[in-house]
Amino acid sequence: MDRNITLLCLIVGMLCIAGCITGGDEVSVTLDGESSAVLTLSDIKALPAVEGYGGRKNSVGQITLPMHYKGVPVTALYELDHAIAGDSAFRIGATDGYLATFSYNQFVNGMFVVYDEEGNEIPAGELTLILAYEENGKKIPEEYGGPLRLAVIGPEAPITDGHWWIRFVSTFEAVNIEQ
């Protein structure tokens, strides 16, 4: 299977930060590849939103306690019923040059390791990976990774690994992974 078949590529333009700083509705999102489009922050906010609490733990165990996030499930950015196969993976990039790849299980099923507030692993409940645009009821400031960042939320206020909480999200790309 062609490893590099791009199912869908979603690019948040470089205006993200400018949009945040000016407070304007200037954030652009570009869908590229076989299917492409441009979305503004308003377009993203017009999608059905979800909200909930989530916290994160960094690589040396320091914990940021759960805060309230509002955003769009990453799966809502795709037409799941026909576009995403089980061997798909999702590259999500940021304007600061960071890139992480999510498996189908993480992206679609929200499978992440969950910790309690002391940092001990606990059984994972229901988890959702979202593209967040609000933190504690306000737009996400640049110093906290806004205007768009990933967050893992759930009804039990899960704490998950911080390296999945990508800041300054700028690109989404779905790819097939060779087995």
Binding site: S59, V60, D96, T101, V113, Q179
Partner: protein, 347 residues
């Protein structure tokens, strides 16, 4: 009289800022130190001793993976007074470029080794030795903790150890036997006349309970202490600091020696994707050296120099050794012309 009072008040007002600048105020000067995760305990010991000697300073330590340590300054635009990483090569790779480099020198000050941390009641612990460890790890009822090579230096170094073991023990099944079929796609091994390369796939998820993959080696500690896993590859100083049982591996494979088990070519770990746009994800198996530098855009240069001097001093060395970190007998710099003069006497 009133004129005299006014003059005195004016003098006091004008003097106050100068008094604060020279550290005579109540609030201590901050020294921001960002370091690798495996340096947390050694640097906390340094912090305590330093602040006793210099009560006018407040050392604030923040820890990340080594690449992230540097990115705080070079990409995220934060300021730090001292940076210390677990892989010295990252400093020139990520900080020296451009017309205004973020740093121009480093000093190697410590080394480390990776070995197997375990509990006395870990499965088959009584059979564990430097000759049998890889057979124990390959058993179906042994749970091994691995840190993710995509996120953690100890993760890709663990893969190096498993591959180097094949050369040391002349057994080319060790890497495959230990990882089993946990990863799909698997770690791919290729070889040419110059190097043996382990390629880590973009998606690296364990599909078996026999292997617990976590984002960093630090996260494996609680799993090990709680009995969820039997063994984990950990830095020696971390394992000893946490009071875990520890099997030291032969120096030709534990990345504590210049002489590794693969002698005629390099051993590389290649990540199949570029996690950081500024980092070429290709890592060479070599001796582990920790290094420190002071970034060009430092906020508290005097404090940074004072802390780094203390780190390199005999007292600093003792603090770090007290947390089981192996400091170097002779500190090494790549650029003595750029190292601040006050540090040269320690080299």
């Amino acid at each position: 009289m009133s004129r005299q009072i006014c003059c005195i008040a004016l003098v006091i007002l004008l003097s106050a800022p100068f008094a604060m600048c020279i550290g005579g105020g109540d609030s201590p000067q901050t020294i921001k130190v960002i370091c690798a995760g495996s340096l947390v305990a050694p640097f906390e010991a340094l912090e305590v001793a330093f602040e006793e000697i210099y009560p006018g300073y407040d050392v604030q330590i923040e820890a990340h993976g080594s690449i992230q340590v540097i990115r705080q300054v070079t990409v995220l635009g934060r300021t730090a007074d001292v940076l210390a990483v677990a892989d010295y090569s990252l400093i020139p790779m990520l900080m020296y470029g451009g017309e205004d480099p973020h740093a121009t020198w480093y000093v190697q000050f410590a080394t480390n080794k990776l070995g197997l941390a375990y509990r006395p009641d870990s499965a088959y612990a009584s059979e564990l030795s430097a000759e049998t460890w890889y057979e124990v790890l390959a058993r179906e009822d042994v749970v091994l903790g691995l840190s993710d090579p995509r996120f953690d230096a100890s993760g890709y170094r663990t893969l190096m150890i498993l591959k180097l073991a094949e050369y040391l023990y002349e057994n080319d099944t060790i890497l495959g036997a230990v990882l089993g079929d946990a990863f799909s796609p698997p770690v791919r091994v290729t070889e040419d006349e110059r190097a043996v390369t382990l390629t880590v796939p973009e998606i690296f998820e364990s599909s078996t309970p026999r292997i617990a993959l976590r984002g960093s080696s630090v996260q494996l500690l609680s799993l090990l202490e709680g009995g969820a896993i039997d063994y984990a590859f950990e830095y020696e100083n971390v394992a000893r600091y946490y009071g875990l049982s520890y099997l030291q591996l032969p120096p030709s494979i534990d990345l504590s020696s210049e002489d590794i088990a693969l002698t005629d070519k390099e051993l590389l770990v290649d990540l199949a994707f570029q996690r950081f746009s500024s980092v070429t994800p290709l890592f060479v198996a070599q001796k582990t050296y920790y290094a420190v530098t002071i970034p060009r855009l430092v906020e508290n240069e005097e404090g940074a120099l004072l802390f780094t001097e203390f780190l390199l001093s005999e007292e600093g060395r003792a603090c770090m050794e007290g947390t089981y970190l192996e400091t170097l007998t002779d500190y090494i710099t790549d650029n003595p012309l750029a190292v601040p003069e006050s540090l040269l006497s320690y080299l």
